[in-house]
């Protein structure tokens, strides 16, 4: 999945791109939440592209001092956005804890893998206090790294900007790794928080988080363009060239087989029919996961391949989730390919 502004950055020429990348790295290092960052950079990129179309230079928009522009640009973004960023990060930590505990506790019921449960439970119990301290430390480390990045970004050449971003990320993860590597020396094994406490806190936190942030997250989801949908919006020259070559190949094939000449209009009609047929596959992709799971349950019941109904239910549930994800992914690929082709056909028909 890619953010929308990232997908359109390559529409800037070198001069505008150089300035935009510095501003982007500065804003990304400002500890703001993702929604605000996406919104600001998207708006700025649109302004840059518009100015470029008008034949302007980036200096006429941001002035000579890009640093001052950046400071002014985010001047209204107060501590509130930094707090939102912290809350967003804590959300992911709790998701990891919840998913880990589900895997550790439910998997052994499905499979004869008790060893995983014992080991995993021990690890989770030991590491829970470390995670809490870890959140504070990683937040502190990230703040330091971001402050250094902001100070360096305007003193760095354009070719080194991406390296600066990469180095910041590496330093961040090295600090995290060192922390977890050294914690055993500093935290006694008796220092433990019961798992149920962490789970209850996690569920409570996530519930409150999603209820209070639903509008903000809805806005983010509504304008976050993933790669598949973004590609289907417009057909680029590479796709056009590829499809035209395919038309010429099929035309030559028809000639070699002494068939009627394949006109361009016929080719477009054939492709359109194929796309329409593919769209009808949606029903199949929607019900296939359920059919597979039902057949699997019937098979297990028939051969007695289960210890208890609970185990059978849990394994079926996991199988269903996996099948839904796989079929959804496959359908998305087919639909995107279809959308691109239909877009190309429409474009060609408009130009004829």
């Amino acid at each position: 999945m890619r953010d929308s502004y990232v997908f359109y950055k390559d529409r800037l020429n070198d001069r505008f791109l150089s300035v935009f990348e510095k501003i982007e790295l500065f804003i990304l290092s400002c500890d703001m939440d993702k929604v605000t960052v996406e919104s600001k950079l998207s708006e700025l990129l649109d302004t840059f592209i518009s100015a470029q179309e008008d034949g302007r230079t980036p200096e006429t928009l941001v002035g000579e001092d890009v640093k001052a522009f950046c400071r002014m640009f985010i001047s209204e973004c107060s501590w509130k956005y930094r707090l939102l960023n912290l809350l967003d990060n804590i959300r992911w930590v709790f998701w990891v804890i919840l998913c880990s505990s589900i895997i550790i506790d439910i998997l052994p019921l499905v499979y004869e893998a008790k060893g995983i449960s014992e080991l995993g439970g021990m690890l989770l119990a030991l590491k829970t206090p470390y995670l809490i301290v870890g959140i504070c430390l990683t937040g502190f480390v990230a703040t330091i790294i971001n402050a250094v990045t902001r100070a360096l970004v305007f003193k760095t050449k354009r070719t080194l900007i991406k390296s600066l971003s990469f180095v910041s990320t590496v330093v961040y993860f090295v600090c995290i790794f060192l922390f977890f590597d050294l914690t055993e020396s500093f935290f006694p094994a008796e220092f433990d928080i019961p798992l149920w406490t962490v789970l209850v806190c996690g569920i409570l936190y996530l519930t409150v988080y999603y209820i209070t942030n639903r509008k903000r997250l809805k806005l983010y989801r509504s304008h976050k363009t993933d790669l598949f949908s973004a590609v289907s919006i417009e057909v680029d020259s590479e796709y056009d060239s590829f499809t035209m070559k395919r038309y010429i190949k099929e035309k030559n094939k028809a000639l070699k087989r002494n068939k009627a000449e394949l006109t361009f209009e016929t080719f477009l009609n054939n492709e359109e029919k194929r796309c329409i047929q593919n769209y009808k596959l949606y029903t199949f992709f929607k019900i296939a996961p359920y059919i597979i799971v039902i057949l699997s349950i019937l098979n297990d019941l028939a051969v007695g391949n289960y210890d208890s109904y609970l185990q059978l239910s849990l394994s079926s549930m996991i199988l269903l989730i996996i099948q839904l994800l796989v079929f959804k992914g496959m359908w998305k690929l087919i639909k995107t390919s279809n959308d691109i082709m239909m877009s190309w056909i429409r474009e060609k028909r408009n130009n004829m």
Partner: protein, 109 residues
């Protein structure tokens, strides 16, 4: 314009006046301001103004697809914004009259 404080005071009102004419977006506001003599005023000053106006609910923002690619924020004025604009026009006219009186007196003196 050399005095940023002077600019800050009147920029919000001018931006509201532009937005009151119809839904618009950031770059168009910039070009309209420049056409009216606010040259080289940008340096990032417009975006904080828009953020402040949005926080005060003087304007509302709609996210739409730009014909150039990325998402674009379209701004339109609210009822509060219209009231604020009227107040700004009255205050600005009053202050301008007073300032001109003082400056003309100084010239004559």
């Amino acid at each position: 314009m050399r005095d940023p404080q002077l600019l800050k005071g009147i920029l919000e009102g001018c931006v509201l006046a532009i937005i009151s004419k119809g839904e618009t977006y950031g770059y168009r506001i910039i070009t309209q301001l420049e056409q009216n003599g606010f040259d080289r005023m940008l340096e990032g000053t417009l975006y904080p103004v828009l953020t402040r106006l949005e926080k005060r609910q003087s304007i509302v923002c709609r996210i739409g697809k730009s014909p150039l690619g990325p998402m674009r924020k379209y701004y339109s004025i609210t009822e509060n914004g219209l009231i604020e604009l009227e107040q700004f026009k009255n205050d600005f006219a009053r202050i301008t009259r007073s300032a001109m009186n003082v400056l003309e007196d100084e010239d004559e003196g």
